[in-house]
Amino acid sequence: MGGAKPLAGPTQLDLFSDQSMQTISSGRRKGRGIIVAFLVPTILVYLVLFVYPSLESLRLSLYDWKGINPDNARFVGFANFVEAAQDRWVGVSLRNMALIISLGGALLFPLALLFSAALLNDRIKAKTLFRTLIFFPYILSGPGVALLWTFILNPSFGALNGLLRLVGLGALAQPWLGQSATALGAIIFVSVWWSIGFYMLYLLAGMQAIPSEIYDAARVDGADEGQLFFGITLPLLRDFLAVAVVLWIIEGLKTFAVVFLLTQGGPSNQTQVLTTYMMRMAFQTSGAPIMRLGYGSSIAVILLVLVVLAALLFFRLSREEAIEY
């Protein structure tokens, strides 16, 4: 307490009145060498390998450029964006992303809520086991998850078709990843399976923040578990839930690994999303080479705009997150 107070001058408030700011006079007297010494390496690495490529992408999106040779680059203004707006596969990609976000969310959020509520309930046993099994897919790599599910969904030796044949439903066995509807369904399901652990734990943290007195009071009034959940937990969880939904939207917009490695956007481009379509436009070298770096960049920029819009929503919501109980 009390202890050392600033030796000189009034508290030096920074622009945003951050209370933790250095106010010790020595910070000024001894020179601010530490600011430069500690910041410059970070800024250098970040500028060269993150900021510059991001800005360069914006520039490239205004060029028509086939192949790597810079002589082939031609400034075309917004022509790439005009083309993208009319590109049938950009439309298909946007539709697929909307389906992944909406249908995936409709599967993910009720389940995540149920899991997190169950993990808080004293009457549920073996919680650690359930938590571990539900959560672990989250830490696996995209290629790992995708390869695992290509095996499970393989038409000839996959576990799913094997199961259907085993129980006499062999007629339902099908090439899951070879038809656009089931392939998209698989992408949605695998995305949910991969991520649900995160949302479960995030909502769990939100539920733990609700003071138990509120529940005690309601119990005294005779509320049952269902009423407690729908009457107290869900309304008080609203802000956490809103942030979780925005995070899921951002994740859905960025969907890449599952599509890239499970279906490669096929059959016949029907399961493309913006990320995979951009990779195809920019880097496809097999078959008929595309290598349209400028057009690919413009698709990446469209994706950036969508993600930034969602991220702004995220920062708005997370700033409002503090509920007063």
Binding site: G3, A4, D14, L15, F16, S20, Q22, S26, I34, F38, L39, P41, T42, V45, Y46, L49, V51, P53, S54, E56, L60, F115, A118, R123, I124, L129, L133, I134, S141, G142, P143, G144, L147, L148, F151, I152, N154, F157, G158, A159, G162, I196, Y202, E213, G222, D224, G226, L247, E251, K254, A257, L261, T275, M278, M279, A282, F283, L293, L304, V307
Partner: protein
Amino acid sequence: MVATPSDAPAIPTPLRTRIGQPLAYTLIYLVLILWSGLSLFCLLWVLANSFKTNQELFANAWALPANLQWANYLKAWQKTHMDRFLLNSVAVCVGAVTLTAALAAMSSYVLARFSFIGRRPILVILLAGLAIPMQLITIPLFLLFTQWGLINSLPALTLVYVAISLPFSIFVLTGFFRTVPRELEEAAVLDGANEYQVFWQIMLPLVRPGLVTVSIFNFLNIWNEYLLALMLLNKPENMTVPMGLYFLRVTQGAASDWVSMIAGLVIVLTPTFIFFLIFQNRIAGGLTVGALKG
């Protein structure tokens, strides 16, 4: 504590809940068991089939292997240069995680504790990186690396990983530095410590939990990263583990050698699992500080 006296008049419970609750709990259990059972099954199925012959795999995917075909593992290991991939991944991960921790700790300390012109814009630009999708930087990075002859350079890839890990790390660590009471620093300064000593001897030990959390997440993200690796590496001897899977898929898929592919998947998943089991609680606890999958 509000202790409800046991002799208080019993609160009338609606009849509905007495019947409804066991049913509700049964349903909740059912969903829990189905979902976690599916995850467990996926792993066991992959494990069982990794020991089969290709004939056995196609004959019945639900049967257990007659004999354990360890040869699948040997083949997966050799065909993919897995030892090389593992070494590369460990080197890149350890390098990038350590460097990120050092750079992020230093810059977060300065950004959280000193006021200077440009602090706010720098912080904003650094945190904006959280929203940038990786696909945006792949094309320019690919061109930059081609131009500078850095394709296949693991140190260069390591630096790229540092750059993409910085926004999240700084986001978390500035938060940690801000929670350290200022009195501690002031006392040290009165004792004659300079800013560097304050950082090393006072601040760094206090934010260690934050550093550990950040490093665990960076490690997982970098260990699993493959989009940039795919673009910036093309020689097998330079590839990392996630690309190894991709590589395995192409080579063994062409040879229709599915069982070695499955064995390769098991090899690749094992280190992640060990890591997960060791750090499970920290990973779960750290999620709420705002971890995002890249």
